[in-house]
């Protein structure tokens, strides 16, 4: 009997790892190295007006969302309605980073679908996207009043992700919602 104990333990251990692997969800999702660290500094012209800039200075002093979006991104269309709702409820200000896009297309998107953003930064070259560790839009960062990244959500944002991920993070950091 004893000789089966070790293989059995090994198999149970393996099953344990497999279960963890399956429960983890999207295997392509990477943990952001910025969680708990200061958000990368940036300053870019806004989508609406190239002569005005938006950047880290605008995020200071409040909880805010930084939403990376593009017109070529299907997931961005999927989450747009929810972003509009968040903006209408005045829950938190949403700042956009229009990533690897063209101005005319992005402006048309905003015009047709509505504008949930306080301001959208225009990152046509993708330079700021790289600084933020973006690898696939949509990505949404939660930034605290002290400029610390509290959470990163990959893929379309919806009510459920908001309730289960963002609200507890804001409350835990001492913010009131």
């Amino acid at each position: 009997m004893n000789r089966y104990l070790l293989p059995l333990a090994a198999v149970i251990l393996l099953i344990g790892f497999l279960v963890i692997g399956l429960k983890k969800g999207d295997p392509r999702a990477l943990p952001s190295p910025f969680i708990g660290k200061p958000a990368p500094a940036f300053e870019l012209p806004t989508l609406a007006d190239p002569t005005v800039t938006v950047g880290s200075k605008d995020l200071a002093g409040k909880y805010s969302l930084v939403n990376v979006w593009a017109t070529w991104c299907a997931g961005c269309r999927a989450e747009h309605g929810f972003l509009l709702k968040l903006a209408a409820d005045k829950t938190v200000p949403i700042y956009g980073i229009n990533w690897r896009d063209t101005r005319p297309e992005a402006l048309r998107w905003i015009e047709q679908l509505g504008d949930p953003y306080v301001a959208s930064a225009f990152d046509g070259s993708g330079r700021v996207g790289i600084d933020w560790g973006v690898y696939g839009a949509p990505e949404t960062f939660l930034v605290g009043p002290d400029g610390i990244v509290l959470h990163k959500h990959l893929g379309p944002l919806d009510q459920r992700a908001w309730q289960e991920e963002f609200v507890p993070k804001i409350r835990a950091a001492g913010g009131n919602l």
């Binding site: 560790g133 690898y135 696939g136």
Partner: protein, 143 residues
């Protein structure tokens, strides 16, 4: 036949000439060699399991552009790796650096070889102490 093989070889050799990276090469061949080695060791985060050298999605070309810029600025390979790891995490490197987080990755293979060797040794030693079964032995020989 030899001609056919030569033609076939020529075809296969051609395919390796077609590169994803269309950017102008560095003037200094040393820098170019460093650049090529670096981009072959960086994972394309969008198309995981490809390096940014082999991928043509725009994120890969953006990362190539950044690495090119860093090399032009005179950054070392370690500084380039740092640039990527602070933004994308250790996962971006195909050859993760040895650190607290990745130590397990590095020592696990050695541990498994030692553990496997020890197990094998135990089994062989155990079998050597077993009485030799004449019957099965001769059967095995005749088959």
């Amino acid at each position: 036949m030899i001609r056919f093989i030569a033609a076939l070889l020529a075809v296969f050799m051609c395919s390796s000439v077609v590169a994803i990276d269309n950017d102008v090469a560095f003037e200094d061949p040393k820098l170019q060699a460093r650049y090529e080695k670096l981009i072959s060791e960086v994972r394309c985060l969008k198309c995981q399991n490809q390096s940014i050298k082999d991928s043509n999605v725009f994120l890969a070309s953006d990362l190539r552009r950044e690495i090119r810029r860093l090399i032009e600025e005179g950054k070392t390979d370690a500084e380039v790796a740092d640039f990527l790891v602070t933004r994308y995490g250790e996962f971006a490197l195909y050859r993760p650096r040895v650190s607290g987080k990745t130590l397990f990755l590095w020592i696990a293979p050695f541990f498994l070889v030692v553990f496997g060797g020890f197990t094998l040794y135990r089994i062989v030693r155990h079998r050597m102490t077993l009485p030799i079964d004449e019957e099965t032995d001769s059967k095995g020989a005749t088959q």
